[in-house]
Protein backbone atom coordinates (compact mmCIF):
# COMPACT_ATOMS: atom_id res chain seq x y z
CA UNK A 1 0.00 0.00 0.00
CA UNK A 2 1.44 3.37 -0.95
CA UNK A 3 1.97 6.16 1.54
CA UNK A 4 -0.68 8.29 -0.09
CA UNK A 5 -3.52 5.80 0.16
CA UNK A 6 -2.28 5.03 3.66
CA UNK A 7 -2.78 8.63 4.67
CA UNK A 8 -6.17 8.80 3.04
CA UNK A 9 -7.44 5.71 4.79
CA UNK A 10 -9.63 6.56 7.78
CA UNK A 11 -8.04 5.65 11.12
CA UNK A 12 -11.28 4.29 12.53
CA UNK A 13 -14.01 2.63 10.50
CA UNK A 14 -16.97 1.26 12.39
CA UNK A 15 -19.85 -0.30 10.55
CA UNK A 16 -23.06 -1.61 12.04
CA UNK A 17 -21.60 -2.13 15.52
CA UNK A 18 -23.98 -3.87 17.86
CA UNK A 19 -23.42 -4.53 21.53
CA UNK A 20 -25.69 -5.99 24.19
CA UNK A 21 -25.35 -6.48 27.92
CA UNK A 22 -27.53 -9.49 28.55
CA UNK A 23 -30.88 -8.62 27.01
CA UNK A 24 -30.16 -4.90 26.96
CA UNK A 25 -29.02 -3.77 23.53
CA UNK A 26 -26.85 -0.73 24.12
CA UNK A 27 -25.42 -0.16 20.61
CA UNK A 28 -27.94 -0.75 17.84
CA UNK A 29 -25.84 -0.52 14.72
CA UNK A 30 -23.29 2.26 14.96
CA UNK A 31 -21.54 3.54 11.84
CA UNK A 32 -18.70 5.96 12.23
CA UNK A 33 -15.63 7.00 10.29
CA UNK A 34 -12.79 8.94 11.86
CA UNK A 35 -10.19 10.43 9.52
CA UNK A 36 -6.55 10.63 10.51
CA UNK A 37 -5.57 13.74 12.40
CA UNK A 38 -9.13 14.80 13.21
CA UNK A 39 -11.01 15.37 16.45
CA UNK A 40 -14.44 13.77 16.72
CA UNK A 41 -16.68 14.76 19.62
CA UNK A 42 -19.27 12.29 20.80
CA UNK A 43 -22.34 13.88 22.38
CA UNK A 44 -25.50 12.40 23.77
CA UNK A 45 -27.66 11.91 26.81
CA UNK A 46 -26.64 9.66 29.67
CA UNK A 47 -27.02 5.97 28.84
CA UNK A 48 -26.97 6.52 25.10
CA UNK A 49 -23.98 4.20 24.71
CA UNK A 50 -21.12 6.66 24.22
CA UNK A 51 -18.78 5.06 26.75
CA UNK A 52 -19.67 1.60 25.53
CA UNK A 53 -18.81 2.53 21.95
CA UNK A 54 -15.50 4.06 23.03
CA UNK A 55 -14.67 0.94 25.02
CA UNK A 56 -15.46 -1.24 21.99
CA UNK A 57 -12.87 0.66 19.97
CA UNK A 58 -10.03 -0.57 22.20
CA UNK A 59 -11.76 -3.87 22.90
CA UNK A 60 -12.41 -3.27 26.58
CA UNK A 61 -15.87 -4.45 25.51
CA UNK A 62 -16.46 -7.15 22.95
CA UNK A 63 -18.83 -6.24 20.14
CA UNK A 64 -21.62 -8.67 19.30
CA UNK A 65 -21.57 -7.92 15.60
CA UNK A 66 -20.28 -5.42 13.09
CA UNK A 67 -16.87 -4.55 11.77
CA UNK A 68 -14.51 -2.29 13.62
CA UNK A 69 -11.24 -1.34 11.96
CA UNK A 70 -8.53 0.78 13.54
CA UNK A 71 -5.61 1.67 11.31
CA UNK A 72 -6.86 -0.95 8.86
CA UNK A 73 -6.82 -3.73 11.43
CA UNK A 74 -9.91 -5.56 12.58
CA UNK A 75 -10.15 -5.01 16.35
CA UNK A 76 -10.32 -8.14 18.48
CA UNK A 77 -10.88 -10.53 15.60
CA UNK A 78 -8.89 -12.15 12.85
CA UNK A 79 -10.56 -12.80 9.54
CA UNK A 80 -9.86 -16.08 7.82
CA UNK A 81 -12.01 -16.76 4.79
CA UNK A 82 -15.44 -15.51 5.71
CA UNK A 83 -15.11 -16.33 9.39
CA UNK A 84 -14.05 -14.11 12.27
CA UNK A 85 -11.85 -15.70 14.91
CA UNK A 86 -11.53 -14.11 18.30
CA UNK A 87 -7.99 -13.00 19.05
CA UNK A 88 -5.83 -14.26 21.87
CA UNK A 89 -5.09 -11.88 24.75
CA UNK A 90 -1.57 -11.25 23.43
CA UNK A 91 -2.91 -10.02 20.10
CA UNK A 92 -5.62 -7.84 21.68
CA UNK A 93 -3.05 -6.35 24.01
CA UNK A 94 -0.79 -5.55 21.08
CA UNK A 95 -3.64 -3.77 19.28
CA UNK A 96 -4.46 -1.68 22.34
CA UNK A 97 -0.95 -0.31 22.44
CA UNK A 98 -1.82 1.82 19.42
CA UNK A 99 -4.84 3.28 21.18
CA UNK A 100 -4.56 5.53 24.22
CA UNK A 101 -7.47 6.03 26.58
CA UNK A 102 -8.24 8.66 29.19
CA UNK A 103 -10.94 7.92 31.74
CA UNK A 104 -13.43 10.09 33.56
CA UNK A 105 -12.01 9.04 36.92
CA UNK A 106 -8.31 9.29 35.84
CA UNK A 107 -7.50 5.78 37.12
CA UNK A 108 -3.90 6.63 37.86
CA UNK A 109 -1.94 3.96 39.70
CA UNK A 110 -2.03 5.32 43.27
CA UNK A 111 1.07 3.46 44.44
CA UNK A 112 3.28 5.08 41.82
CA UNK A 113 4.53 8.60 41.35
CA UNK A 114 3.46 10.67 38.35
CA UNK A 115 6.70 9.75 36.62
CA UNK A 116 6.33 6.05 37.41
CA UNK A 117 2.74 6.13 36.15
CA UNK A 118 3.92 7.45 32.81
CA UNK A 119 6.91 5.09 32.59
CA UNK A 120 5.11 1.90 33.63
CA UNK A 121 3.63 0.71 30.33
CA UNK A 122 6.56 1.47 27.99
CA UNK A 123 9.00 -0.27 30.34
CA UNK A 124 6.71 -3.20 31.09
CA UNK A 125 5.19 -3.75 27.66
CA UNK A 126 7.75 -2.53 25.17
CA UNK A 127 10.68 -3.48 27.39
CA UNK A 128 12.18 -0.16 26.47
CA UNK A 129 15.33 1.11 28.14
CA UNK A 130 14.42 2.81 31.44
CA UNK A 131 16.62 5.83 30.85
CA UNK A 132 15.13 6.42 27.41
CA UNK A 133 11.59 6.06 28.77
CA UNK A 134 12.31 8.33 31.72
CA UNK A 135 13.61 10.99 29.40
CA UNK A 136 10.44 10.76 27.30
CA UNK A 137 8.18 10.63 30.37
CA UNK A 138 9.73 13.78 31.80
CA UNK A 139 9.26 15.51 28.46
CA UNK A 140 5.60 14.44 28.35
CA UNK A 141 4.94 15.59 31.90
CA UNK A 142 6.60 18.85 31.04
CA UNK A 143 4.35 19.14 28.03
CA UNK A 144 1.19 18.78 30.17
CA UNK A 145 2.59 21.39 32.57
CA UNK A 146 3.66 19.03 35.36
CA UNK A 147 7.42 19.06 34.92
CA UNK A 148 7.78 20.10 38.56
CA UNK A 149 5.44 17.43 39.98
CA UNK A 150 7.06 14.27 38.59
CA UNK A 151 7.73 12.78 42.03
CA UNK A 152 4.27 13.41 43.45
CA UNK A 153 1.85 10.58 44.07
CA UNK A 154 -1.63 10.90 42.52
CA UNK A 155 -3.16 11.64 45.93
CA UNK A 156 -0.88 14.65 46.19
CA UNK A 157 -2.21 16.11 42.95
CA UNK A 158 -5.42 17.97 42.13
CA UNK A 159 -7.99 16.34 39.86
CA UNK A 160 -6.90 18.46 36.93
CA UNK A 161 -3.26 17.57 37.51
CA UNK A 162 -4.12 13.88 37.81
CA UNK A 163 -6.00 13.96 34.53
CA UNK A 164 -3.04 15.62 32.84
CA UNK A 165 -0.76 12.87 34.17
CA UNK A 166 -3.26 10.35 32.78
CA UNK A 167 -3.00 11.99 29.37
CA UNK A 168 0.80 11.90 29.54
CA UNK A 169 0.62 8.26 30.60
CA UNK A 170 -1.46 7.37 27.53
CA UNK A 171 0.83 9.36 25.23
CA UNK A 172 3.90 7.54 26.54
CA UNK A 173 2.86 4.49 24.50
CA UNK A 174 2.96 6.70 21.40
CA UNK A 175 -0.57 5.84 20.28
CA UNK A 176 -2.06 6.62 16.89
CA UNK A 177 -5.48 7.27 18.37
CA UNK A 178 -6.56 8.82 21.66
CA UNK A 179 -9.92 8.09 23.26
CA UNK A 180 -11.27 10.43 25.95
CA UNK A 181 -14.31 9.40 28.00
CA UNK A 182 -15.68 12.54 29.64
CA UNK A 183 -12.19 13.59 30.76
CA UNK A 184 -13.42 16.68 32.59
CA UNK A 185 -16.72 15.53 34.13
CA UNK A 186 -15.17 14.53 37.44
CA UNK A 187 -13.36 17.84 37.81
CA UNK A 188 -14.21 20.97 39.76
CA UNK A 189 -15.25 23.67 37.28
CA UNK A 190 -12.11 25.73 37.81
CA UNK A 191 -9.91 22.75 36.84
CA UNK A 192 -11.70 21.90 33.59
CA UNK A 193 -9.84 24.51 31.55
CA UNK A 194 -6.34 23.23 32.22
CA UNK A 195 -7.26 19.75 30.96
CA UNK A 196 -9.09 21.05 27.89
CA UNK A 197 -6.05 23.22 27.08
CA UNK A 198 -3.80 20.18 27.08
CA UNK A 199 -6.26 18.35 24.82
CA UNK A 200 -6.43 21.32 22.48
CA UNK A 201 -2.64 21.38 22.18
CA UNK A 202 -2.66 17.67 21.53
CA UNK A 203 -5.19 18.14 18.74
CA UNK A 204 -2.98 20.83 17.24
CA UNK A 205 -0.11 18.35 16.98
CA UNK A 206 -2.29 16.28 14.65
CA UNK A 207 -3.33 13.55 17.05
CA UNK A 208 -6.47 11.68 16.04
CA UNK A 209 -8.91 11.96 18.93
CA UNK A 210 -12.38 10.72 19.81
CA UNK A 211 -13.76 12.69 22.74
CA UNK A 212 -16.93 11.95 24.66
CA UNK A 213 -17.75 15.25 26.27
CA UNK A 214 -20.44 17.57 27.52
CA UNK A 215 -18.21 20.59 26.87
CA UNK A 216 -20.06 22.10 23.92
CA UNK A 217 -17.55 24.91 23.59
CA UNK A 218 -14.68 22.47 23.29
CA UNK A 219 -16.59 20.60 20.58
CA UNK A 220 -17.22 23.84 18.71
CA UNK A 221 -13.69 25.11 18.99
CA UNK A 222 -11.58 21.97 18.60
CA UNK A 223 -13.90 19.40 17.01
CA UNK A 224 -13.68 18.63 13.30
CA UNK A 225 -16.77 16.51 13.60
CA UNK A 226 -19.60 16.15 16.08
CA UNK A 227 -21.49 12.89 16.45
CA UNK A 228 -24.74 12.91 18.36
CA UNK A 229 -25.82 9.59 19.83
CA UNK A 230 -29.07 8.63 21.47
CA UNK A 231 -30.41 5.30 22.64
CA UNK A 232 -27.73 3.25 20.90
CA UNK A 233 -28.00 4.99 17.53
CA UNK A 234 -25.98 7.69 15.82
CA UNK A 235 -28.68 10.30 15.31
CA UNK A 236 -26.73 13.02 13.60
CA UNK A 237 -23.21 13.57 12.31
CA UNK A 238 -21.58 16.65 10.86
CA UNK A 239 -19.32 19.60 11.46
CA UNK A 240 -19.78 21.44 14.77
CA UNK A 241 -21.51 24.25 12.86
CA UNK A 242 -24.01 21.84 11.36
CA UNK A 243 -24.81 19.69 14.38
CA UNK A 244 -24.48 22.29 17.12
CA UNK A 245 -25.48 25.38 15.16
CA UNK A 246 -28.22 24.01 12.98
CA UNK A 247 -29.37 20.59 14.21
CA UNK A 248 -31.77 18.75 11.92
CA UNK A 249 -33.09 16.04 14.23
CA UNK A 250 -35.62 16.67 16.97
CA UNK A 251 -33.66 14.61 19.50
CA UNK A 252 -30.50 16.62 18.85
CA UNK A 253 -32.41 19.86 19.26
CA UNK A 254 -33.99 18.79 22.52
CA UNK A 255 -30.63 17.58 23.91
CA UNK A 256 -28.84 20.77 22.95
CA UNK A 257 -31.57 22.95 24.43
CA UNK A 258 -30.92 21.20 27.74
CA UNK A 259 -27.12 21.47 27.83
CA UNK A 260 -26.64 24.90 26.27
Amino acid sequence: MSAITDRQRPLVEASNIRKSFGHLEVLKGIDMVVEQGTVSCLLGPSGSGKSTFLRCINHLEKVNSGRLLVDGELIGYRQRGNKLYEMKEREVVAQRQKIGMVFQRFNLFPHMTALENVMEAPVLVHKENRAVVEERARRLLDRVGLGNRVNNFPSQLSGGQQQRVAIARALAMEPKLMLFDEPTSALDPELVGEVLDVMKELAETGMTMIVVTHEINFAKEVGDKVVFMDDGYVVETGTPEQVLGNPQEARTKSFLSKVL
Binding site: R105, F109, A121, S155
Partner: protein, 305 residues
Protein backbone atom coordinates in the same frame (compact mmCIF):
# COMPACT_ATOMS: atom_id res chain seq x y z
CA UNK B 1 -27.31 20.15 80.50
CA UNK B 2 -29.37 23.20 79.66
CA UNK B 3 -27.78 26.35 78.42
CA UNK B 4 -28.37 29.49 80.34
CA UNK B 5 -29.84 32.60 78.90
CA UNK B 6 -27.68 35.70 79.39
CA UNK B 7 -30.07 37.02 82.01
CA UNK B 8 -29.82 33.81 84.03
CA UNK B 9 -26.03 33.93 83.84
CA UNK B 10 -26.06 37.53 84.96
CA UNK B 11 -28.34 36.63 87.87
CA UNK B 12 -25.94 33.91 89.04
CA UNK B 13 -23.02 36.24 88.74
CA UNK B 14 -24.84 38.75 90.88
CA UNK B 15 -25.47 36.21 93.61
CA UNK B 16 -21.91 34.84 93.69
CA UNK B 17 -19.79 37.60 92.25
CA UNK B 18 -16.32 36.13 92.92
CA UNK B 19 -17.07 32.43 92.65
CA UNK B 20 -14.24 30.82 90.67
CA UNK B 21 -15.49 28.32 88.10
CA UNK B 22 -14.38 24.83 89.01
CA UNK B 23 -15.01 21.99 86.60
CA UNK B 24 -16.22 18.87 88.35
CA UNK B 25 -15.95 15.78 86.15
CA UNK B 26 -18.89 13.41 86.11
CA UNK B 27 -18.33 10.69 88.67
CA UNK B 28 -19.00 7.27 87.20
CA UNK B 29 -19.32 4.90 90.15
CA UNK B 30 -20.04 1.87 87.95
CA UNK B 31 -16.65 1.84 86.25
CA UNK B 32 -14.89 2.56 89.54
CA UNK B 33 -16.48 -0.50 91.11
CA UNK B 34 -15.64 -2.63 88.06
CA UNK B 35 -12.03 -1.44 88.16
CA UNK B 36 -11.81 -2.30 91.84
CA UNK B 37 -13.11 -5.80 91.18
CA UNK B 38 -10.59 -6.28 88.37
CA UNK B 39 -7.75 -5.13 90.64
CA UNK B 40 -8.81 -7.50 93.38
CA UNK B 41 -8.97 -10.45 90.96
CA UNK B 42 -5.58 -9.52 89.46
CA UNK B 43 -4.05 -9.32 92.93
CA UNK B 44 -5.50 -12.71 93.85
CA UNK B 45 -4.13 -14.30 90.66
CA UNK B 46 -0.76 -12.66 91.19
CA UNK B 47 -0.65 -13.78 94.81
CA UNK B 48 -1.48 -17.36 93.98
CA UNK B 49 1.02 -17.40 91.07
CA UNK B 50 3.74 -16.32 93.44
CA UNK B 51 2.85 -18.31 96.53
CA UNK B 52 1.41 -21.57 95.18
CA UNK B 53 4.45 -23.86 95.24
CA UNK B 54 2.89 -26.15 92.62
CA UNK B 55 3.80 -23.69 89.88
CA UNK B 56 7.44 -24.49 90.63
CA UNK B 57 8.89 -21.28 89.24
CA UNK B 58 12.35 -22.52 89.98
CA UNK B 59 11.80 -25.45 87.60
CA UNK B 60 10.34 -23.08 85.01
CA UNK B 61 13.42 -20.87 85.18
CA UNK B 62 15.65 -23.92 84.84
CA UNK B 63 14.03 -25.04 81.59
CA UNK B 64 13.26 -21.76 79.78
CA UNK B 65 16.63 -21.72 78.04
CA UNK B 66 17.32 -25.44 78.05
CA UNK B 67 18.67 -26.75 74.72
CA UNK B 68 15.72 -29.09 74.13
CA UNK B 69 13.22 -26.25 74.58
CA UNK B 70 15.24 -23.87 72.41
CA UNK B 71 15.49 -26.48 69.65
CA UNK B 72 11.74 -26.96 69.87
CA UNK B 73 11.25 -23.22 69.69
CA UNK B 74 13.48 -23.10 66.60
CA UNK B 75 11.36 -25.78 64.90
CA UNK B 76 8.15 -23.94 65.80
CA UNK B 77 9.50 -20.75 64.24
CA UNK B 78 10.75 -22.62 61.18
CA UNK B 79 7.38 -24.35 60.71
CA UNK B 80 5.56 -21.03 61.03
CA UNK B 81 7.79 -19.22 58.55
CA UNK B 82 7.93 -21.98 55.92
CA UNK B 83 4.19 -22.61 56.20
CA UNK B 84 3.33 -18.94 55.86
CA UNK B 85 5.61 -18.37 52.87
CA UNK B 86 4.29 -21.41 50.98
CA UNK B 87 0.69 -20.66 51.99
CA UNK B 88 0.96 -17.10 50.63
CA UNK B 89 2.28 -18.42 47.30
CA UNK B 90 -0.35 -21.16 47.00
CA UNK B 91 -3.08 -18.86 48.37
CA UNK B 92 -2.28 -16.21 45.75
CA UNK B 93 -2.73 -18.83 43.04
CA UNK B 94 -6.01 -19.93 44.57
CA UNK B 95 -7.18 -16.32 44.78
CA UNK B 96 -6.29 -15.53 41.17
CA UNK B 97 -7.68 -18.76 39.67
CA UNK B 98 -11.37 -17.81 40.05
CA UNK B 99 -10.72 -14.62 38.08
CA UNK B 100 -9.95 -16.62 34.98
CA UNK B 101 -12.87 -17.28 32.69
CA UNK B 102 -12.25 -21.01 32.90
CA UNK B 103 -15.05 -22.52 35.03
CA UNK B 104 -12.96 -25.57 35.90
CA UNK B 105 -10.28 -23.42 37.54
CA UNK B 106 -12.90 -21.37 39.34
CA UNK B 107 -14.65 -24.41 40.74
CA UNK B 108 -11.40 -26.14 41.63
CA UNK B 109 -10.37 -23.15 43.71
CA UNK B 110 -13.73 -23.01 45.46
CA UNK B 111 -13.71 -26.75 46.13
CA UNK B 112 -10.20 -26.55 47.56
CA UNK B 113 -11.10 -23.76 49.95
CA UNK B 114 -14.33 -25.50 50.91
CA UNK B 115 -12.53 -28.72 51.73
CA UNK B 116 -9.47 -27.43 53.54
CA UNK B 117 -11.34 -24.89 55.63
CA UNK B 118 -14.08 -27.37 56.34
CA UNK B 119 -12.00 -30.08 57.99
CA UNK B 120 -9.91 -29.74 61.18
CA UNK B 121 -6.17 -29.21 60.71
CA UNK B 122 -5.56 -31.86 63.31
CA UNK B 123 -7.37 -34.42 61.15
CA UNK B 124 -5.44 -33.29 58.07
CA UNK B 125 -2.12 -33.65 59.89
CA UNK B 126 -2.90 -37.16 61.10
CA UNK B 127 -4.19 -38.04 57.65
CA UNK B 128 -0.95 -37.03 55.90
CA UNK B 129 1.10 -38.78 58.56
CA UNK B 130 -0.80 -41.99 57.89
CA UNK B 131 -0.87 -41.67 54.13
CA UNK B 132 0.93 -44.99 53.73
CA UNK B 133 -2.14 -46.74 55.10
CA UNK B 134 -3.97 -45.44 52.03
CA UNK B 135 -1.21 -45.55 49.39
CA UNK B 136 1.80 -47.74 49.79
CA UNK B 137 3.73 -46.03 47.01
CA UNK B 138 3.66 -42.59 45.48
CA UNK B 139 4.06 -43.00 41.73
CA UNK B 140 4.64 -40.46 39.01
CA UNK B 141 3.39 -41.83 35.75
CA UNK B 142 2.54 -40.56 32.30
CA UNK B 143 -1.23 -41.16 32.01
CA UNK B 144 -1.63 -44.66 30.52
CA UNK B 145 2.12 -44.51 29.81
CA UNK B 146 5.40 -45.44 31.43
CA UNK B 147 6.18 -44.93 35.08
CA UNK B 148 8.67 -42.13 35.73
CA UNK B 149 9.16 -42.27 39.45
CA UNK B 150 8.15 -44.43 42.39
CA UNK B 151 8.81 -43.95 46.07
CA UNK B 152 7.77 -45.77 49.19
CA UNK B 153 5.19 -43.58 50.98
CA UNK B 154 6.73 -44.36 54.35
CA UNK B 155 10.07 -42.90 53.36
CA UNK B 156 8.41 -39.87 51.74
CA UNK B 157 6.17 -39.00 54.67
CA UNK B 158 8.35 -37.93 57.57
CA UNK B 159 6.96 -35.88 60.47
CA UNK B 160 8.27 -32.79 58.67
CA UNK B 161 6.68 -33.48 55.28
CA UNK B 162 3.41 -34.51 56.94
CA UNK B 163 3.45 -31.38 59.11
CA UNK B 164 4.19 -29.05 56.20
CA UNK B 165 1.62 -30.72 53.95
CA UNK B 166 -1.07 -30.41 56.61
CA UNK B 167 -0.24 -26.86 57.69
CA UNK B 168 0.47 -25.38 54.24
CA UNK B 169 -2.56 -26.88 52.48
CA UNK B 170 -4.80 -25.69 55.29
CA UNK B 171 -3.28 -22.25 55.72
CA UNK B 172 -3.32 -21.65 51.95
CA UNK B 173 -7.12 -21.91 52.00
CA UNK B 174 -7.31 -19.10 54.57
CA UNK B 175 -4.70 -16.99 52.78
CA UNK B 176 -6.61 -17.44 49.51
CA UNK B 177 -9.67 -15.86 51.07
CA UNK B 178 -7.63 -12.98 52.49
CA UNK B 179 -5.87 -12.30 49.19
CA UNK B 180 -9.14 -12.62 47.26
CA UNK B 181 -10.66 -9.93 49.47
CA UNK B 182 -7.57 -7.78 48.92
CA UNK B 183 -7.78 -8.10 45.15
CA UNK B 184 -11.50 -7.37 45.32
CA UNK B 185 -10.80 -4.14 47.19
CA UNK B 186 -8.83 -2.70 44.26
CA UNK B 187 -10.95 -0.46 42.04
CA UNK B 188 -11.94 -1.98 38.68
CA UNK B 189 -10.67 1.13 36.95
CA UNK B 190 -7.11 0.05 37.75
CA UNK B 191 -7.37 -3.10 35.65
CA UNK B 192 -9.09 -1.14 32.88
CA UNK B 193 -6.42 1.53 32.84
CA UNK B 194 -3.73 -1.13 32.68
CA UNK B 195 -5.53 -2.98 29.88
CA UNK B 196 -6.02 0.23 27.93
CA UNK B 197 -2.25 0.79 28.10
CA UNK B 198 -1.65 -2.60 26.53
CA UNK B 199 -0.51 -4.23 29.77
CA UNK B 200 -1.44 -7.92 29.90
CA UNK B 201 -3.60 -9.40 32.67
CA UNK B 202 -0.73 -11.23 34.33
CA UNK B 203 1.57 -8.20 34.20
CA UNK B 204 -1.07 -5.93 35.68
CA UNK B 205 -1.82 -8.44 38.43
CA UNK B 206 1.82 -8.37 39.45
CA UNK B 207 2.56 -4.68 39.01
CA UNK B 208 -0.77 -2.90 39.53
CA UNK B 209 -3.35 -5.01 41.37
CA UNK B 210 -1.40 -7.03 43.96
CA UNK B 211 0.69 -4.10 45.24
CA UNK B 212 -2.54 -2.22 45.94
CA UNK B 213 -4.21 -5.26 47.47
CA UNK B 214 -1.37 -5.41 50.03
CA UNK B 215 -2.94 -2.65 52.07
CA UNK B 216 -5.96 -4.85 52.74
CA UNK B 217 -4.06 -8.14 52.83
CA UNK B 218 -1.33 -7.38 55.34
CA UNK B 219 -3.24 -6.82 58.61
CA UNK B 220 -5.24 -10.09 58.50
CA UNK B 221 -2.12 -11.91 57.30
CA UNK B 222 -0.28 -10.78 60.41
CA UNK B 223 -3.21 -12.05 62.43
CA UNK B 224 -3.07 -15.39 60.60
CA UNK B 225 0.65 -15.66 61.36
CA UNK B 226 0.01 -15.23 65.08
CA UNK B 227 -2.69 -17.85 64.89
CA UNK B 228 -0.48 -20.21 62.90
CA UNK B 229 2.30 -19.94 65.49
CA UNK B 230 0.05 -21.67 68.01
CA UNK B 231 -1.56 -24.02 65.49
CA UNK B 232 1.89 -25.49 64.82
CA UNK B 233 1.68 -27.02 68.31
CA UNK B 234 -0.77 -29.52 66.78
CA UNK B 235 2.08 -31.25 64.98
CA UNK B 236 3.10 -32.63 68.37
CA UNK B 237 0.57 -35.40 67.64
CA UNK B 238 2.70 -36.58 64.73
CA UNK B 239 5.85 -36.59 66.87
CA UNK B 240 7.56 -33.55 65.40
CA UNK B 241 9.43 -32.11 68.38
CA UNK B 242 8.38 -28.48 68.08
CA UNK B 243 8.04 -26.30 71.17
CA UNK B 244 5.08 -28.03 72.81
CA UNK B 245 6.24 -31.56 72.01
CA UNK B 246 9.72 -30.72 73.34
CA UNK B 247 8.12 -29.70 76.62
CA UNK B 248 6.06 -32.88 76.61
CA UNK B 249 9.17 -35.01 76.03
CA UNK B 250 10.73 -33.50 79.13
CA UNK B 251 7.73 -33.76 81.43
CA UNK B 252 6.92 -37.30 80.38
CA UNK B 253 10.30 -38.13 81.89
CA UNK B 254 10.31 -35.80 84.92
CA UNK B 255 6.55 -35.45 85.56
CA UNK B 256 7.00 -31.67 85.94
CA UNK B 257 3.97 -31.15 83.72
CA UNK B 258 2.76 -27.74 84.86
CA UNK B 259 6.14 -25.95 84.90
CA UNK B 260 6.98 -27.21 81.42
CA UNK B 261 3.61 -26.16 80.02
CA UNK B 262 4.35 -22.74 81.53
CA UNK B 263 7.75 -22.71 79.82
CA UNK B 264 6.13 -23.42 76.45
CA UNK B 265 3.39 -20.85 77.04
CA UNK B 266 5.91 -18.18 78.00
CA UNK B 267 7.67 -18.69 74.68
CA UNK B 268 4.41 -18.61 72.70
CA UNK B 269 3.52 -15.39 74.52
CA UNK B 270 6.93 -13.90 73.81
CA UNK B 271 6.76 -14.62 70.08
CA UNK B 272 3.14 -13.47 69.89
CA UNK B 273 4.18 -10.22 71.54
CA UNK B 274 6.87 -9.66 68.93
CA UNK B 275 4.42 -10.51 66.13
CA UNK B 276 1.78 -8.21 67.61
CA UNK B 277 4.21 -5.32 67.62
CA UNK B 278 5.00 -6.15 64.00
CA UNK B 279 1.28 -6.31 63.20
CA UNK B 280 0.58 -2.91 64.78
CA UNK B 281 3.44 -1.44 62.82
CA UNK B 282 2.17 -2.95 59.55
CA UNK B 283 -1.38 -1.81 60.21
CA UNK B 284 -0.32 1.72 60.85
CA UNK B 285 1.70 1.59 57.68
CA UNK B 286 -0.82 -0.02 55.34
CA UNK B 287 -4.13 0.61 57.07
CA UNK B 288 -4.31 4.30 56.25
CA UNK B 289 -5.06 6.02 52.98
CA UNK B 290 -2.69 5.43 50.17
CA UNK B 291 -0.80 8.65 50.40
CA UNK B 292 1.17 8.46 53.64
CA UNK B 293 2.04 4.83 53.01
CA UNK B 294 3.25 5.33 49.51
CA UNK B 295 5.18 8.44 50.40
CA UNK B 296 6.73 6.85 53.44
CA UNK B 297 7.71 3.70 51.57
CA UNK B 298 9.37 5.91 49.00
CA UNK B 299 11.28 7.72 51.69
CA UNK B 300 12.35 4.49 53.38
CA UNK B 301 13.50 3.12 50.04
CA UNK B 302 15.48 6.28 49.39
CA UNK B 303 17.15 6.10 52.79
CA UNK B 304 18.01 2.43 52.32
CA UNK B 305 19.56 3.10 48.95
Amino acid sequence: METMTPTQAAAIKEREPDAAIVAVPVRNYGTAVAAAIVLIIAAAIGYSLLTNPNFQWGVVAGYVFSPVILQGLGRTLLLTVITMVLAVILGTGLAIAPRSKNPVLRMASQAYIWFFRGTPVLVQLIFWYNLSALYQYVVLQVPFGPELFRIDTNSLITPWTAALLGLVLNEAAYMAEIIRAGIGSVDNGQQEAASALGISKSQSMRRIILPQAMRVVIPPTANETINLLKVTSLVSVITLPELLYSAQIIYSRTFETIPLLIVASLWYLAITTVLTIGQNYMERKYGRGNLPTAVKMKRIKRILR
